[in-house]
Symmetry: C2
Subunit: 361 residues, 2 copies
């Protein structure tokens, strides 16, 4: 191992030309060289296994062909789907991805971001919801290179990509209402998150449209883990023993919800119907199979990278957030009369007006 890298100078020497000429031949630009010299250079390069040094290239071209990806906990299925798609898309466009993961909550967002900037990434994708309130991070995001964010950035100025969570929640809640439920609880993520508030609004929208005033005690906060979701469920059952449906904000939490319901002796969907969010791959195989809002994480990753790259290329990013539609996947857990895997796309024209931007992403 540790064999020395071969530089263009070496191959130039062996081919008997100046290194600049070799460089021109090798990067395939418009060269003014005879076919034979070119062939000779190529042959030597081939034989020696020449690979251009991208760091030198980056230095002169003032571009690293690398994007930085700062994420929240990648252990989360949703974020990892996003990251995988983003990396894939970047690579398809000849860009590498430098990753900055913020696993723990007390980690310093600016430090992670600064590390990426110090490495002169061409652009940054922010996918760390925990940073959505951080103004120092927001400043960095605006200051150096083009950026795209998945979450709200205080002060704006950074293009957003996300899903229409308000519409999604409205859709899910409306589905439960259409099944005859009127006492619908919800187990949510942390209230301080935009996505959670968007979903709460959608949930309330649907209830009000059905003439039901949403009770504040029927929305209980959890922290995305099954454990807290189970606790939240117990609290809901205690507050309203007549509750017959739960809208939960993630499939992982739904595992906790199902577990708590089972422990309380409530059958699903017989006693309590459950609809969740995310539609992780395992949702279909839970017992009972879980109805869930499919959030297009992979598409979001793809779009985010494409947006970023075009922004790096000098194009103006969209001023409005790009919101991808979510889709309700109906399965066993909500006890729908149509228990088939009927996917119902969101109707384009919703009666409620489009929600303001800060509420949706």
């Amino acid at each position: 191992m540790a064999r020395r890298y071969v530089s263009v100078k070496e191959i130039a020497a062996k081919a008997g030309v100046s290194f600049q000429t070799a460089s021109k031949v090798l990067n395939g630009g418009n060269v003014r060289v005879s076919a034979e010299t070119a062939a000779r250079i190529m042959a030597v390069a081939e034989k020696l296994g020449y690979r251009p040094n991208t760091v030198a290239r980056s230095l002169v071209q003032q571009s690293t062909s690398t994007i930085g990806l700062v994420t929240g906990d990648l252990t989360d299925g949703a974020l990892s789907q996003f990251a995988v798609a983003a990396e894939r898309t970047a690579r398809r466009h000849e860009h590498a991805v430098l990753i900055g993961n913020m696993a723990v909550h007390d980690e310093d967002g600016t430090a992670v971001l600064q590390m990426l900037i110090d490495r002169r990434v061409d652009g940054i994708i922010a996918a760390a919801p925990q940073l959505e309130g951080d103004t120092a991070v927001a400043d960095l995001l605006r200051r150096y290179v083009p950026a795209v964010s998945l979450h709200h950035v205080p002060g704006g100025g950074v293009p957003l990509v996300g899903s229409n969570h308000r519409d999604g929640a409205r859709l899910a809640t409306r589905h439960l209402l259409s099944l005859g439920h009127t006492r619908i609880g919800t187990v949510t993520g942390p209230f301080r998150r935009h996505v959670v508030r968007s979903r709460l609004h959608g949930y309330e929208d649907a209830l009000r449209q059905a003439g039901i005033e949403p009770g504040e005690d029927l929305a209980v906060e959890a922290d995305w883990t099954p454990g807290t979701a189970a606790a939240a469920t117990r609290l809901l059952l205690q507050r309203d023993p007549e509750m017959t449906a739960i809208f939960v904000h993630s499939d992982t939490m739904a595992i906790g919800v199902l577990s708590a319901l089972a422990a309380a002796g409530r059958s699903v969907p017989g006693d309590v119907a459950v609809v969740s969010c995310d539609d992780m791959p395992f949702a279909e195989y839970l017992t009972p199979s879980l109805s869930s809002l499919r959030v297009p994480f992979a598409q979001t990753g793809e779009r985010a990278v494409e947006l970023l790259l075009s922004s790096i290329g000098g194009q103006d990013p969209p001023a409005e957030p790009v919101l991808l539609p979510v889709e309700l996947i109906v399965r066993g857990s909500c006890g729908s009369p149509a228990p088939a895997s009927a996917a119902r796309p969101l109707p384009a024209q919703t009666s409620a007006p489009a929600a303001p931007r800060t509420e949706d992403s």
Copy 2:
């Protein structure tokens, strides 16, 4: 945005010194400068927000302080735990992580690896089990920079870090045997994977030690997804309706196993006991809560990076694979008489001799 980066030359000019002097002051090396000039330079740098250009630095120092991480599908909870810990550890040691994810199976491993090498990473961590048979990848892994692998590398020469899966499987199977089960099926990952074969060997070890000849038809292959695991479970039930226990190779697959058992009207653990592998965070919250072998993914990531960094630093990597111990977490799904969360560490002295290296990792 897109504010120009400030270089050391600019700050030198403003401070009235040569840029080399400024450089010496700023990188804190042993400088021979007066305290006042140093202070002046620092002040200017501070004011202008100077950040050294790491790509230029990399060029002269022949080191990027970056490691490459090539992974299999990061969407998998196990791999993402590993990756998160690896990135964290790398960052703690002032190294960035360039990621190459191989989401889809037909992706070209050498291309991903070559991309990292072209970017002159200082070392590479391979965590893509799907590449374990790829000799071209193995050659790349050996050739340029230090590497550490999670999976077996054909031809050797790359230090390995992993878990003792054979011991783990033996432990799990033995636990089921101790509960009185004699007809124990297993739902495995793809047979071609080393980890799967190691676990099969451990499973067979335990059965033979108990005087039971493992029946070939009681080991059914799946592909890590709940769907195929459910199918495998149905096949097991059909082959041996008297089967009373299942050892399944991942928690995600266990979801499918539980689902298939429920659909077949078998209660868990009443009719069929289930022990799984991985101990993902959700395992505890499945219904029933899942007994599982805890695999130390995070520790593995940490160790892998530490090993790689010391290897980059010039130290000889260990010739023998580093195998971390697994631990059986007993919960409800195996119907253990001690349903408490009693964790039983693997006894140090196993009657069977240490398994050969290629079987364990």
